[in-house]
Every structure is written in structure tokens, then in C-alpha cells.
């Protein structure tokens, strides 16, 4: 299938090294790649079943059980008390919206720039976006307390002539999150269709029936490819501003309030950078899990991919630090009395351990580790980095949401937030829900976009330059 200019025999050692390093140089027949991906999908071992049963059970108890208890008893069960009316639910909401930026950033932006290394893991990242958004979407419902009234957010005429207030950022959230969820799900589904057709051709039993429905009769004709690739291009361009709008609007939930510590003009880009940071970090962790727990994944996901993600993570961490520093230094320099108290509360007050945890996890540790190529190339290091950065990002949201609310202009109205067990349980439950959905999806859909990898194989070749060989890329897209 893959034609290549013959290279001199003395360069074979270098060629082997390059093949070991780069997936897109290490060509394998499509048939074999299909088999590897399907084998990974169909491997529902006993351990996997136990893990899924455990995660499912924990989710039912900690998330849905606790939520039902909260609904039946009342919001008094949550730790939110005057003046802190936003707690762990809003922290988790912002956190999961942030994680959802993984797929869009890794897939759409890298696709627009034709970054070749993206090919094997775009889908793994896109899947994170969809599931993270589903998790995030639960929180406004949970935070409502009376969840059954959620339809009040939906704009439709009713007998009392009451409409949602379109000037409220919470209504903007509704529109932005739904647009992003629909857009990112379709963006996940479109490039998946050819791989579902492959699975349809290779499967039997219930899987064949399922993939026959989901692949929509895809045959790979010129017409189908022309329309699909054009739509993927449109989606990649369209989903990027939608992604930016979503987290900007989430930041406006805070920034439009006349609340010191929130009312900031750089909250939009600051939140976006933070979201991309946590998203990329999460991709590193998830890719490690995919690589170590699924069959044949070491061929598709290699140290080169962790290395590139590590570089991205380092750059974005620097970007986040820039915005964080800007926000901090200007507020401090302004010298406003209450703002000074908020800064003191952050750095030396009761919430200081969380604030310092954020600084250590988002700046010190990534900068100390990710400059080193050897560490970036180690999958387990990137797994840990992903966890550490996300602990830091969760801490950041916790400080912004609950810390700023703890201090107001009048000391009479100061407070201290302690999350209740129900809140902690629900927040924990969304993590297990995410892992459960991801684990189930990993056995239902091809996690590697095989056609995109094959396209990459066709685009890449080895070229002799002087006394060595170098990978060379042709523009086939």
C-alpha cells in the first residue's frame, strides 16, 4: 500500500530507529490496524467488567444517590451559607467545562494547523469533550436544588408570560453549553462514521447490528469523502470560537458581577487558558490509561505523542501563569482595601493552603518537570503531570469561587465555606461517571481513527538528505 523511495542499505539502522519513534513512518497494512483496533475494542476481560461494575456502582451511590438525597431533603444539606452561595457544584461545573476544552483544542486547533502528531489521539480527546460536557451539564441542574424546575431555563412561551432573562450570564451559559455539546458531539461523530463502517464490515452479532445503524450506510465513495472532509473542515473552524465563547461565558458568570475578586476584564482569556491547560493535562492522563489498559495501543500511542503533549502543557502553563500574574499583580497594585483583604485571605488566610496548592501544581511542578525531554517522553510521568495540573486547576476554581465570596466590603458579611459530605460525594461521583462512560465507550467505538492514521501513513515518507534520512510530509489533506 505505502510506496517509498528505496533507501541505501547503510541507512537501514537509522530507518529502523525512525520507525520505532514515529507512528506515521511505521507503516502497517490497514487490515492489521483494523484488527488491532477492533481487538482492543472487543477485549471485555473480567477485570474490565469488574472495573466498570465498580465504577457504575460508585457513580450510582455517590452521584445519583447523593443527588436524590439532596433533592428530597433540600439544599440545606449543601455547605453553602451566606455569603457563599456558590460552592463545590459551581467549582466542579467550571472544572468540567475546562476539561471539555481538551478535545476541541487537541482535535480542532491541531487539525486546522495540520499538526500530524494529532492523528492517533484526536478521537480519544474528542470523547473527553463530550463526556466532560455531560458531567458539567449536570451541575446547573444539581445547583438548582429544585431540579424539576429546570425547564424554566428553556425559552418558550408559558401561561405566565415569563421568559428567561436573556441578559443573564446563566442563560448565556444555557445556550453556549448546549451549542458546544451539540457541536462537539457531531464533531466526534462525523469522523467516526468511516471507522464505524469498518467495524460494521468486521463485526458479527449485536455489534454488527449496532455499527450498521451508526455507520449510516457509509461506503467511502468520492462523494461521501468530499462532503465529509469539507464538513470536518467547517466543524474544526466553527468549534474553535464556540469553545472560546463557552469558557468566556463561564468566566462572565463571575466577571459581570460587581464582586471584588471577580470583576475583571481578563477573566475571559484567563479562564480559557486555564481550561486548555486542564484539558491538555487530562488528555495526557487519559492517553496513559488507554495505552496501558487497552490491547495494541502501544503501537498507536507512543512516547512522541506524550512528548508533544508535554511541550503543549508547558507552553499553556506559561500562558496561564502570565494571566494569573497579571490578575494578581494589578489587583494588588490597585491597593483597594477589600481587594487587599482578598489577596491576604488567598495567600495567608484560611484558604491559603488551597491557593498555594494551585501555584505549586500549575506552575512549579510543570515547569520543573516538563522542560526535560526524557521526562516528557515517559507516559507515566505525563499521567502524573495530568493529575497534578488538574488538582491545581480544581484548586484554582475553588479559590476563585469560594475564596472571593468569603470576603466582602463589609466585614460583617465575611464567611467561610466548608463543603458538606453530600457536595463532596456528588463532586466525586462525576469523576467516576466520567471514567465509567469513557470506559464503556472505549469498548463500543473505535478509539483510534484508523482512516486518519492511514492517511498519515500515505502522507509521510522517509527522504535521504546528505548522509541521513529524515521524515518528510506530503500535503494530502
Amino acid at each position: 500500500m505505502h510506496s517509498e523511495t528505496p533507501l541505501p542499505a547503510e541507512l537501514h539502522g537509522q530507518v529502523e530507529e525512525l520507525r520505532k519513534e514515529h507512528l506515521l513512518i511505521d507503516v502497517r497494512p490497514r487490515e492489521e490496524m483494523n484488527r488491532m483496533v477492533l481487538e482492543a475494542m472487543e477485549d471485555t476481560s473480567r477485570e474490565w467488567k469488574w472495573a466498570m461494575a465498580f465504577l457504575g456502582l460508585v457513580t450510582v451511590v455517590t452521584l445519583f444517590g447523593a443527588w436524590a438525597y439532596l433533592m428530597s431533603t433540600g439544599m440545606g444539606l449543601a455547605g453553602i451559607r451566606r455569603p457563599i452561595f456558590w460552592g463545590l457544584f459551581i467549582v466542579s461545573f467550571v472544572f468540567w467545562i475546562g476539561i471539555s476544552h481538551a478535545g476541541t483544542f487537541v482535535s480542532a486547533i491541531l487539525r486546522v494547523f495540520k499538526a500530524e502528531f494529532r492523528r492517533p489521539f484526536t478521537r480519544a480527546a474528542e470523547l473527553m469533550t463530550t463526556f466532560a460536557l455531560m458531567g458539567a451539564g449536570l451541575y446547573p441542574l444539581i445547583h438548582l436544588g429544585r431540579t424539576w424546575r429546570f425547564y424554566w431555563m428553556v425559552p418558550y412561551p408559558n401561561q405566565r408570560w415569563l421568559w428567561p432573562n436573556f441578559r443573564s450570564p446563566l442563560v448565556w451559559d444555557f445556550f453556549a453549553i448546549n451549542t458546544y455539546l451539540i457541536g462537539s458531539t457531531l464533531y466526534l461523530y462525523l469522523p467516526l462514521i468511516p471507522d464505524l463502517a469498518m467495524a460494521r464490515d468486521k463485526s458479527t452479532g449485536w455489534r454488527k447490528k449496532l455499527y450498521t445503524i451508526l455507520s449510516l450506510g457509509w461506503r467511502g465513495t468520492e462523494e461521501e469523502w468530499r462532503h465529509l472532509t469539507k464538513a470536518i473542515q467547517i466543524f474544526a473552524w466553527a468549534i474553535i470560537p464556540v469553545m472560546f465563547s463557552v469558557h468566556t461565558i463561564v468566566s462572565w458568570d463571575f466577571a459581570v458581577a460587581m464582586k471584588l475578586g471577580w470583576h475583571s476584564t481578563i477573566f475571559g482569556p484567563y479562564f480559557i487558558t486555564g481550561a486548555i491547560l486542564s484539558g491538555i493535562a487530562a488528555v495526557g492522563s487519559v492517553l496513559y490509561l488507554v495505552r496501558t489498559t487497552m490491547k495494541n495501543m502501544t503501537y498507536f500511542i507512543r512516547p512522541e505523542h506524550f512528548d508533544t503533549l508535554g511541550k503543549l502543557l508547558l507552553i499553556i502553563s506559561m500562558g496561564w501563569t502570565y494571566f494569573f500574574f497579571n490578575e494578581f499583580i494589578l489587583e494588588w497594585y490597585g491597593g483597594e482595601h477589600t481587594v487587599k483583604e482578598i489577596i491576604r485571605f488567598y495567600t495567608q488566610g484560611d484558604i491559603a493552603p488551597v491557593w498555594w496548592l494551585m501555584v505549586i501544581c500549575n506552575i512549579f511542578i510543570p515547569w520543573a518537570v516538563l522542560w526535560n525531554r526524557n521526562w516528557r517522553r515517559k507516559p507515566w510521568v505525563m499521567f502524573l503531570m495530568g493529575l497534578i495540573v488538574n488538582v491545581g486547576m480544581y484548586a484554582e476554581r475553588y479559590v476563585i469561587v469560594t475564596g472571593a465570596l468569603s470576603r466582602n466590603r463589609i466585614p460583617f458579611d465575611w464567611g467561610w465555606y466548608q463543603p458538606s459530605l453530600v457536595e463532596i460525594s456528588i463532586a466525586f461521583g462525576t469523576f467516576t461517571l466520567f471514567l465509567f462512560m469513557y470506559g464503556m465507550a472505549s469498548r463500543l467505538i473505535p478509539l483510534i481513527p484508523v482512516w486518519e492514521v492511514e492517511e498519515g501513513h500515505h502522507a509521510h515518507s522517509l527522504r535521504k538528505v546528505g548522509k541521513t534520512v529524515v521524515p518528510s510530509v506530503a500535503d494530502l489533506e
Partner: protein, 182 residues
């Protein structure tokens, strides 16, 4: 006698399989030389090949048009929602204006993008006729394994000539198939 004569001229669909785009492109050329028009040829592949690679006519996709229409519908919906709602059901609160532009941008942007995205998706389905509604369409499952399948419609009388020409350019298999192109 007449039936046999007609059978020889009745066009049927055949498929030739190739491993690489180069021989597939040569096969298209050969078919054209024999007199089979482009509209009677269909290529199926496991990866998207540009039409230039396979020597096929370059056509523009209509999906962007669907996207534009969808964006327009989304835009108008947002205008109707944002400005129509307070016009129809005015709620005057504390001297706030009924119509404000800055928050309008948010709704207009989100619904315009939603329209663009959904319509582009539907555009792929409509233009590619997915999912098929009636009839069997030609397909070769080896396409999933990376083969390039060149389907062509030709009368049986031409088959020997076509077979010979296609085998010369590297077709691994030529066989008749049931179904239609679309």
C-alpha cells in the same frame, strides 16, 4: 436471439480492486479511453483521496451552502428570540431598557454557530444520501481494509477488453456487483 443480443449491450456494474492510488488513477484513464464516461465510474476508498490524485473530475461540495443557510436560520432565530420576546411580552423592571445590544451578541453568536454546525452535519447526510432509503447500493467490503474499489458500468460486450486493460494496470480482482451507484 434478440434477448441475447440485448444482454450483450445491457450495462452492468463491475468492480476492480487496487492496492494503491496510482494504478487506480491509471484504471480510470483506461476506462475513459475505452469510452466509459466519468459519470459511469465510482471510486470507493478507505481514506479520502483528492480527485486530482485519482484523476477524477473536481467538484465542489455543497456542504458550505447548507452551513450558510443554517447560520442564517440560527441568526434569525436568535434575533426573533432576543428582540421578539421583550417586544411581545414586555417586562419593565427598574428602568432597564427592553432592548440591549451587548448581551444580544452572545445569543446571536451561539445560535448562528449552532445553525451552522447542525446544518453542515445535515448537509453531509443529504448530499451523500446517508442513510440510504431504498435499494441496494454497490459496495466492496475490502474498502475497509484499504483497497481502492473502482466501480464502472459497462455493457458485457466490452467486458473482455476492459478486463484485459485493467489487469494490465494492476487490478487484483474484477467482478460483477449487484446494486446501483446511488
Amino acid at each position: 436471439m434478440y434477448g441475447g443480443y440485448q444482454g450483450r449491450y445491457e450495462p452492468k456494474i463491475y468492480v476492480a480492486l487496487f492496492d494503491d492510488p496510482e494504478p487506480a488513477a491509471r484504471a480510470v484513464e483506461v476506462l475513459r479511453e475505452i469510452g466509459i464516461e466519468d459519470r459511469l465510474i465510482q471510486i470507493q476508498s478507505g481514506v479520502p483521496w483528492k480527485p486530482e490524485v485519482l484523476g477524477r473530475p473536481i467538484k465542489a461540495s455543497a456542504v458550505p451552502k447548507y452551513g450558510m443557510v443554517g447560520a442564517g436560520v440560527g441568526f434569525l432565530t436568535s434575533i426573533a428570540l432576543y428582540f421578539g420576546t421583550p417586544a411581545l411580552y414586555p417586562l419593565r423592571v427598574g428602568g432597564f431598557p427592553l432592548f440591549t445590544m451587548p448581551p444580544a451578541f452572545v445569543l446571536i453568536f451561539e445560535l448562528t454557530m449552532l445553525g451552522l454546525i447542525v446544518a453542515s452535519f445535515l448537509g453531509v447526510l443529504f448530499e451523500s444520501l446517508l442513510p440510504p432509503v431504498v435499494g441496494k447500493r454497490v459496495y466492496h467490503p475490502e474498502v475497509s481494509d484499504g483497497a481502492i474499489a473502482v466501480f464502472f458500468q459497462a455493457p458485457a460486450i466490452l467486458l473482455d477488453r476492459v478486463k484485459e486493460a485493467l489487469q494490465q494496470v494492476g487490478a487484483s480482482e474484477i467482478e460483477p456487483v449487484e446494486g446501483s451507484f446511488v
